[in-house]
């Protein structure tokens, strides 16, 4: 994976650039001490690290604008950063880039329950947004598993999902408006606490644009009333085909679960060894959760169990109380930790049409033999988002490269069967060089045109999303 070489002219002007930033920002908002900036050299894609030129941590929209104006004037690339939890290298800097972190913008500005929105600063963590409204019986639906740490800013940049998204949608379906600063320092409000775009849907364009169109400092988010309750059921099957057919039948019966999670045998075995959740040792396991009142939950689970029985499950277990519900979820929630205990692993997030699951799992099994690396699979069966976990040994020379090559083949397969490269994590640097598998030249050109409009100088996070040779003509030399 290549990063553009740092611009020597920028490196030469570093003292002057820092002085200009310190002119317009409080002294503690500009960091260039080598040990302090090291904390910003990578995000959760820890295989790739590069210390930035400097780090700026503003506290207000005005400070963000002031910082961007200086960088714009100096031609310095800027890499926006929320909490740095990106698994795709979205916040990975180059040596000539300024990291602009929004974590100090973390207030709740207004919670409006009658109008069902919350207005927050973008550096606030995802879980603490729900935290701010749950006493009134509300929640913010998109819940990526990093929600304890990840920031709304990052959620907006990557259009994050989460376990709830089958029923409640992803970030873009729950975002009402943003306050955003463009690279030249212009502050724009796109949308607000009302529905629908007045003209072109610029908000929909900004969400998922990976920090390349502007820096979001505030957001208006939809909040929803908490359901009365929720309960899971666990089902074991002796093949992934049967598990997939069961999912299709549940959906065709008109049930809309809030979550449908799938785990394959390697994942079940590793998880059971680690978490002892009492999972059946079988080929494929489903956890299905439904919401509503007790009676509604009973009705839905009754239907689901009836459907499941038609598929000869090896295990069918409904939680009868909160403790049992916790045990059903325990294994699934420990899965990544369980894999991490055995090995280093790479987590992919390609998406496939749900009907293609058996074929894709079979091919992944074959590729696992070819590459000599084990894989365990977690899958959001309701929406097709796969999480193949490829196990490797970071200390063994060549393993990372082999793992990446295997991952690339899996993602190409996802596209081949009608899916896509990334369902949740975003392109960043991790899938940048595979973009040509999913898009042709005209498709990429159309996306780059959009960046040309918002950031004509291509200074915002320029080394991400588009293969470097494809974006070369637009990026600073």
């Amino acid at each position: 994976m290549d990063l553009p070489s740092p611009n020597p002219a920028i490196l030469a002007r570093k003292p002057a650039i820092l002085a200009r930033l310190r002119d317009v920002l409080p002294s503690d908002a500009v960091i260039d001490d080598e040990t302090e900036t090291r904390a910003y050299e990578c995000d959760a894609l820890t295989a790739y690290r590069c210390p930035p030129l400097a780090v700026v941590l503003p506290r207000t929209t005005e400070e963000v604008a002031a910082a961007l104006k200086v960088c714009h004037d100096e031609g310095v690339p800027v890499v926006p950063r929320g909490s740095g939890t990106s698994l795709a290298g979205g916040a990975l800097p180059t040596g000539d880039a300024v990291i602009l972190g929004v974590s100090r913008l973390n207030r709740v500005i207004e919670a409006d329950y009658a109008n069902r929105f919350v207005h927050v600063q973008s550096g606030r963590t995802n879980l603490s947004v729900t935290g701010a409204v749950e006493d009134e019986g509300f929640f913010y639906a998109p819940d990526p598993s990093s929600q304890l740490a990840c920031a709304i800013a990052g959620n907006i940049a990557m259009n994050s999902g989460g376990a709830h998204c089958l029923k409640y949608g992803v970030t873009t379906n729950n975002l009402l408006g943003v306050r955003m600063v463009l690279m030249d320092g212009t502050v724009v409000d796109i949308g607000g606490p009302w529905m629908d775009a007045p003209g072109l849907d610029l908000l929909g364009l900004v969400c998922g644009s990976e920090g390349q169109l502007g820096v979001v400092t505030e957001a208006w988010l939809r909040i929803l009333p908490k359901p009365e309750g929720a309960r899971p059921v666990l089902m074991g099957f002796d093949s992934s085909e049967v598990a997939g057919a069961c999912v299709a039948d549940i959906i065709k019966a008109g049930v809309l679960p809030v979550a449908i999670e799938f785990m394959d045998r390697p994942c079940i075995e590793a998880t059971e060894a680690f978490a002892h959740a009492g999972y059946p040792m079988c080929e494929a396991l489903l956890i299905v959760e439904v919401e509503g009142s007790e009676a509604e939950i009973d009705e839905q689970l009754g239907l689901i169990k009836q459907i499941a029985r038609r598929h000869d499950p090896v295990e069918l277990r409904e939680a009868t109380d909160a403790a049992e519900a916790g045990r059903i979820w325990l294994g699934r929630k420990s899965a990544f930790g369980a894999m991490g205990q055995i090995n280093d692993y790479m987590c992919l997030d390609g998406t496939i049409p749900v009907s293609a699951l058996p074929l894709v799992l079979r091919r992944i099994g074959e590729m696992s033999q070819e590459f000599g690396l084990d894989v365990a699979n977690v899958f959001h069966a309701g929406d097709g988002n796969m999480h193949p976990l490829i196990l490797f040994d970071a200390n063994r020379p060549g393993d990372l490269e082999r793992c990446e090559a295997f991952g690339a083949e899996i993602l190409k397969l996802c596209v081949e069967v009608g899916g896509c490269l990334t369902g949740e994590h975003g392109v960043g640097v991790e899938k940048r060089d595979l973009m040509g598998v999913q898009f042709d030249g005209a498709d990429l050109e159309a996306q780059m045109r959009v960046k040309d409009v918002f950031d004509p100088g291509w200074l915002l996070n320029p080394a991400k999303v588009f293969p470097l040779n494809v974006s070369a003509g637009r990026r600073a030399a």
Partner: protein, 373 residues
């Protein structure tokens, strides 16, 4: 004036646009004509039609843009599914004729009462293929619900009314059609109290799928789902809404459907003179907005959408100054639509971004020229 062009394939459409000598007036079903009067050679998209793929177990449908909505809705109904965002039929409201196409629905982001719960058309759109103003075929998104690969031009195309490109194919997320439905009518005659009732209902855990106010009829609250669940939730909502006024429950399917068709189609404004405005705002501002506008109103989306019938030539935006949100002129004479911008004027930086996008996607400015100006 030459005849309408009606290409039968995406390639033919691309060639027609690429070789166009002047402005093109795009037409799907011709039922949702909103915006500045547009001149040009008519380009009809109805020849690019047909369902391409439908997987009920995956909640996914892909169709060519010229496919009639009626055909899609029938195919979905046969499998017990539907388009959750509730396609509105605006022919009675706008006085138009024709068969709405799915491409037109996406291009207009046309969404009905259930938008308040299930999201708008743009939230159900998974992927698009389109031809830009230069005649280039572009695709974005795909056919899966979770897709963050590159920029989301699907959202950009939804609601762009052909001004950035002509849709040739759309992929949509579909949802199960419910087994049962019920509608409550609460006798409330004051707009402020109506919004209070709707907010109470929408803030409850009883999964309300429609919240509207028809002055003269009352606040309408809809629930859908499995029969026992609907009965339970309707009962809980009846109790919740009782303080706001007398509550009547409707649960015969045809009656519930008719009640909500009237809201969706804005029936109170059919066959009546006057201009029609559509205002999006915070529900708590709806009563103030209605009072300032002064004409007949219908509230939808819990009060987040105000339909208003006003005397010909009224500029509603002047009355609404200071209230956050935006107002669209939906029905008015060509003369009025030339004088008053049908689409909301935007602050300069946003207008510049929109202008920049149009300049790049349609450099010759030939696609529905000036429609959204």
């Amino acid at each position: 004036m030459s005849e309408a062009m009606r290409p039968e394939t995406e390639q033919d459409l691309a060639e027609a646009i690429g070789s166009a000598k002047g402005p093109l007036a795009l037409r799907g079903g011709g039922t949702r004509g909103v915006g500045r009067p547009v001149a040009g050679q008519v380009l009809d998209t109805g020849g690019i039609a047909g369902i391409v793929l439908y997987e009920p177990g995956a909640l996914t449908l892909v169709a060519k843009a010229g496919t009639p909505v009626a055909e899609i809705e029938a195919a979905l109904a046969a499998e017990g599914q539907r388009l959750a965002f509730e396609v509105p039929d605006w022919r009675g409201l706008l006085g138009s004729e024709g068969q709405s196409t799915i491409g037109g629905v996406v291009a207009a982001n046309a969404s009905g009462p259930r938008r308040v719960q299930a999201g708008a058309c743009r939230d159900a759109a998974l992927g698009v293929r389109f031809v830009d103003g230069g005649g280039t075929v572009i695709k974005n998104g795909g056919r899966v619900m979770k897709n963050v690969t590159g920029y989301d031009l699907v959202k950009l195309m939804a609601g762009s009314r052909g001004t950035l490109g002509v849709l040739t194919e759309v992929a949509l997320k579909v949802l199960p059609a419910p087994e049962a439905m019920a509608s409550l009518c609460v006798g409330v005659e004051d707009a402020g109290a109506a919004v209070g009732a709707m907010s109470a209902a929408l803030g409850s855990p009883f999964d309300v799928s429609g919240a509207a106010w028809r002055p003269g009829r009352g606040v309408l609250i809809r629930v859908e789902g499995f029969a026992a669940s609907v009965a339970y939730r309707a009962g809980r909502l009846e109790a919740l809404l009782a303080p706001f006024g007398p509550v009547e429950k409707v649960d015969a399917p045809e009656a519930v459907a008719a009640e909500w068709a009237a809201v969706r189609e804005v029936a109170p404004f059919h066959d009546r003179a006057g201009d029609v405005w559509r205002v999006a705002l915070k529900p708590s501002d709806a009563a103030e907005a209605a009072a300032r506008l002064g004409g007949d109103v219908l509230l939808d989306w819990g009060g987040g959408l105000v339909w208003a019938l006003l005397p010909d030539g009224t500029d509603a935006r002047a009355a609404l100054a200071g209230i956050g949100g935006h107002a669209t002129l939906m029905r008015a004479s060509a003369e009025t639509r030339a004088r008053i911008a049908p689409f909301p004027p935007e602050p300069a930086p946003l207008a510049a971004l929109a202008q920049g996008l149009r300049a790049r996607f349609d450099p010759r400015g030939i696609l529905n020229t000036g429609l959204m100006a």
